[in-house]
Symmetry: C2
């Protein structure tokens, strides 16, 4: 039977080492202890491998990540992560408490809709020369709000004391903020939670500096 | 008891008649048959009422919508809609089937992260003179992908034959596309589903043309 056979196959992540949305999915797989294969899609080489007709059949939006899993192909990192969480529930990435679930999604969406899309590669290419200021502006705007929200919701992690999808979104966004030279000392709560998370194995093994497609000069 | 008392109070939507993300939440309330109060936040008057210190305590991101419900205040429309769906389950806005759930979230996020943030008021103000072309570019890019995905997932509605959160995202985005003069004839599946949805009462009563804060000259 097709479905059973598909379930026995390892998931395949189409991603890019430096893409923050790809990193989100890598963290989710690592936290769940799920083995997966990676198919690198180089967003800059050859004008962008995500723009090929072949990749368009994987993700019509021509972005990474996309994941082939259980016989279907999904795009949009938060949809992928929630699918992984609903089909492989341990450990949970969305808490059981209904109000905490909403807070996890609110923080995840603040990053995934309110910050990341405005500083991704494709948008910055369109912005042109002022791209550093543009990226800093939107990251700072989002981080000011996020810092204020986290003061209400956080414990050890973004929402209480359990790791969730919100933490999976936070760490790659902080990595982007550092790339764009945002001063993180303005955001002590974000900085503290990020440091705590970066001590964990799942966040380390999924880091952009150690993926199959990481160039040698960026490895650590 | 505070929680029980809060549950007896009507939810309050802080929104703006023309905001597509506010409209999403209005559709969800209408589909569920939930009565709510509206507090208008005029995004253009007085330089933008969302920028006041008072509103910042409601939503630190200084955007609409925000909803006060069951004693908490939430922002980010998809987090709000999923909270409403999980606390008031009938009729469901996310299907029971795990793969369809993922497809609903994928389509919702394609719109909510991949299109809307790049053509919202605040970003277009920063883009300046070329804002019409900028908005058209990102809406067309997203709609091309969406049209291709919907050909796989849709029945009467975006995913199969039941209304879902994906439909709640689709209709306000089509409204924005029309505002920015995008040629919808390029997207027959999007156009057809939108027409079908716009026949339904929940989408009509929540339309920007008939809200408490709709200016008289835009009423219909």
């Amino acid at each position: 039977m097709r479905t059973s056979f598909a379930c026995l196959m390892k998931p395949v992540l189409h991603g890019y080492f430096r893409s923050s949305c790809s990193w989100r999915v890598r963290i989710a797989f690592a936290l769940k202890g799920i083995e997966y294969d990676q198919v690198p899609v180089n967003l800059v080489k050859d004008g962008g491998q995500q723009l090929t007709d072949q990749y368009k059949t994987v993700n019509p939006m021509q972005q990474v990540p996309a994941v082939t899993i259980d016989g279907i192909t999904l795009s949009q990192s938060l949809a992928i992560i929630q699918y992984i969480d609903e089909t492989r529930p341990r450990p949970p990435l969305i808490p059981a408490d209904l109000q905490q679930r909403a807070q996890v999604r609110m923080i995840s969406d603040l990053i995934a809709s309110g910050i990341q899309p405005l500083q991704n590669l494709y948008v910055l290419q369109k912005v042109g020369e002022e791209k550093l200021q543009w990226a800093q502006h939107f990251i700072n705007k989002g981080f000011k709000a996020l810092e204020s929200i986290l003061k209400q919701t956080s414990g050890t992690y973004c929402v209480g004391n359990e790791i969730s999808m919100a933490d999976i979104c936070l760490v790659p966004q902080v990595y982007n903020a550092e790339r764009y030279k945002v001063d993180l000392d303005q955001y002590p709560t974000i900085k503290q939670i990020n440091q705590t998370l970066m001590e964990l194995e799942a966040f380390k093994v999924s880091h952009p500096s150690c993926q199959p497609d990481t160039p040698d000069d960026l490895r650590s």
